[in-house]
């Protein structure tokens, strides 16, 4: 009862503020507790130019309990799972307050894209990438934005270089391909080991990767 009324009011508030460039809609007309929200990637970040869609489930106890939010759009960000889109943000968990609205929560997600918290990660692999090599991380995040979050990006999804997708140096993949390993396997192992580039003199790591490749093939 209180939930339905408030959701309708929140819908209206989003419509009344087109300047925020935030969108909120029901997934189906029959269920007002399942919504999709979207917002634009913050300018000056690798997410600039992207449109990010968020799946929103409003629990029975709303607004006394937080809405469940996860990204539908794939996002390369330390606090967002690159696989499931799960989000690590305190206000959606224990720091929830009933005065937070769906709109303000979406704005908080936008702010999260602007300022990642790699020390409290949702996706450890991405967070490590961010901490180790920010430039490379930014390139990968921008590539994901272009591939998955741009309005017309849907059709380009197929022909993606797997190595590039995870910010791995293509030369490194080629090096192991020359040894006869399959590319998907190489990418998988390099991701697992968290290695993006390799100094050609670093034989120890080279051996470690080869061992890992042999073990998993």
């Amino acid at each position: 009862m209180s939930r339905a009324k408030r959701i309708m009011k929140e819908m209206q508030a989003v419509k009344d503020d087109p300047a925020a460039k935030i969108n909120l809609e029901f997934v189906t007309e029959s269920d007002i507790h399942h919504l999709k929200g979207s917002f634009l990637g913050p300018p000056g970040t690798p997410y600039d130019g992207g449109l990010f869609i968020v799946d929103i489930e409003v629990p029975m106890e709303y607004p006394f309990k937080p809405p469940k939010m996860k990204f539908d759009t794939k996002v390369y960000h330390p606090n967002v799972s690159s696989v499931t889109g799960a989000i690590c943000l305190d206000i959606l968990k224990n720091a929830w307050s009933p005065v937070i609205t769906l709109k303000s929560a979406l704005i908080s997600l936008q702010a999260l894209l602007q300022s990642p918290e790699p020390n409290d990660p949702q996706d450890a692999e991405v967070a490590q990438h961010y901490l180790r090599d920010k430039d490379s991380f930014n390139k990968t995040a921008a590539l994901w934005t272009k591939l998955y979050a741009s309005a017309n990006g849907k059709d380009s999804e197929k022909d993606v270089d797997e190595a590039k997708l995870y910010g791995i140096d293509p030369a490194l993949v080629e090096h192991f391909e020359a040894l006869g390993f399959a590319k998907p396997k190489i990418v998988e192992v390099l991701r697992r080991l968290g290695i993006k580039t390799l100094d050609s003199t670093d034989d120890a790591t080279d051996d470690k990767i080869t061992d890992e490749l042999l073990r998993s093939s």
Partner: protein, 153 residues
Amino acid sequence: MKVKLREVHSVFAWTWHIPKESQDAHAETIDDNDGDDVCGICRASYNATCPGCKFPGDGCPLVVGECNHNFHVHCIYRWLDTATSRGLCPMCRQTFQLKKGLAINDSQISKFQELRNKQWQTRQQEFGDQQDPETNPLEDQDDPMMDQGLIVR
């Protein structure tokens, strides 16, 4: 000329009187679409009811917090009764307490006192504290646990 009044229809309007300084503090934090302040929890006007009530007025009053944030009494009570609230004001995250010396709050004091006592007991059980249960729960206002700001993670 003589005028004879046969019938008189009186129309009255009422609004809650919200103390001035508390209204000011409030105006900054809430979207105010139609010049009518709304309860931050249910987003319905103060002069209307919370979602659970049918008749506005004394049956569904407001309370004013020590921090000058106002809510329908039913809304804030329901929030404070959840574990996630940790007894904090939803607006400013200070411990929510009724402002003293306001007629509007007076009838609610005992209800909120009961709630605080209940939470105090739950907290003690949770932390398995050895503290003397006779200590006055109202002195527990500066608990550092209660003092977390709105941090984006």
